[in-house]
Amino acid sequence: MKQDSFIYYTLHLADNALILGHRNSEWCGHGPVLEQDIAITNISLDLIGQARNFYQYAAKLMNKQNAPSPNGKEVGGEFTEDKLAYLRDVREFKNCLLAEQPNGDWAQTILRQFFFSTYQFYLYRQLQESHPDEQLAAIAAKSLKEVTYHLRWSSEWVIRLGDGTEESRKRMLNALENLWPYTGELFVPAAYETDRMDLKNIKEQWAQKVKDIFSEATLPYPAEGWMHTGGKTGMHTEQLGFILAELQFMQRAYPNSEW
């Protein structure tokens, strides 16, 4: 049971990175200017790389303990990173709801990235410093270097847009209204999270960082309110099904195809 929950936790970290990475990749060729198109797709690449590291590790752990196949039916042979990404159904994904929210306009994409990168930054720092599992700590340490770039880039954009023109500010406020109710879930521990991470501490650091950046961006820090939850245990918004339909189509339609 303890091992199961560790595998779930590893999958949760992987799914977060994959789903946000996929969302960001939808900007490829559509960014507002070439440099920022390249920036958001670079961030996407980093996130998908992190997801691969977590999936590879989860697959290794699952093969070791002969875990049941992820969707309850035989997927054949050993678990691999690809099977975990391409052949699990929506209810088996454990990513936070924030990661799957639609791109919206540039302001919404930026704010989602900022909320998430701030969370990931403090989360990976804690994993790196205090997680007893060496491989998780190593993936976190490696990824933290990349997340530092993501956090700086998205912070600068939040300030630029929040304290920018009337139009950019309006869009930022709109994004804030859309996304804020999805931030609470980041700090509500799932059963597989409770014994290893100090989410309370991460929440305090997250809130402080968001307050600092919002104050520079002249954006209001919203009051605590009702928050959506469920993503961590597989209860997703309608968005994830559409993401998986696109992400998994090739492997589902042409099993084992390669390119």
Binding site: E35, Q36, I38, A39, N42, I43, L45, D46, L47, I48, G49, Q50, R52, N53, E134, Q135, A137, A138, I139, A141, K142, S143, K145, E146, T148, Y149, L151, R152, W153, S155, E156, I159
Partner: protein, 172 residues
């Protein structure tokens, strides 16, 4: 064979393998070998199996799979039979591991080599651009166009003197 002799033979063999790995290049930056990049962390013998331990530059670097394959193919073509490539993540790769020779080759190729790491890599906002030397006219009068460039490891700069845009292998 005495202990010292054995040790000498092994390290001579390791040296030979390092020489061979000098011929394996990064597919994205073809002037750099895997040795120049500093991604080969160890070369080990487990009885008759040769193990090469490598570490990725960035988590999402798409070149890593090609690099692993090239290392294997190159060693096979030099007569090594049992080869294992292992990827490790810790300690995390840093541009400080790039060889001086590698930095020289990068500059000659038109990519500004990384500055020493302690100069940047912080989370300060709107930080002033690093003083990066133009690989074409050698001026330090340059500015950053974007922190994210054509590959994960590069940023985009432009020279204010010769006006040429250039890639900077960013510190990491």
């Amino acid at each position: 064979m005495s202990r010292t002799e054995e040790h000498t033979t092994v390290s001579a063999e390791t040296k030979k393998i390092e020489m061979i790995l000098e011929q394996v290049h990064d597919p994205e930056v073809p002037v750099l070998s895997v040795m120049d990049l500093g991604i080969v962390r160890d070369i080990k013998w487990n009885n008759d199996e040769l193990e090469v331990i490598i570490t990725p530059t960035y988590s999402g670097c798409p070149a890593m799979d090609v690099i692993s394959l090239s290392i294997k193919m190159t060693l096979l073509s030099h007569g090594y039979k049992k080869i294992k490539i292992t990827q490790v993540l810790s300690p995390a790769w840093t541009t400080d591991w790039m060889s001086e020779e590698g930095k020289r080759k990068l500059a000659a190729y038109g990519i500004a080599p990384p500055n020493p790491k302690q100069q940047v890599c912080n989370d300060k906002l709107f930080a002033p651009d690093e003083a990066v030397q133009c690989p074409h006219c050698h001026s330090y009068h340059t500015h950053r166009v974007s922190e994210f460039g054509s590959t994960a490891c590069k940023a985009l700069y432009q020279c204010d003197d010769c006006k040429e845009p250039f890639d900077y292998f960013k510190c990491h």
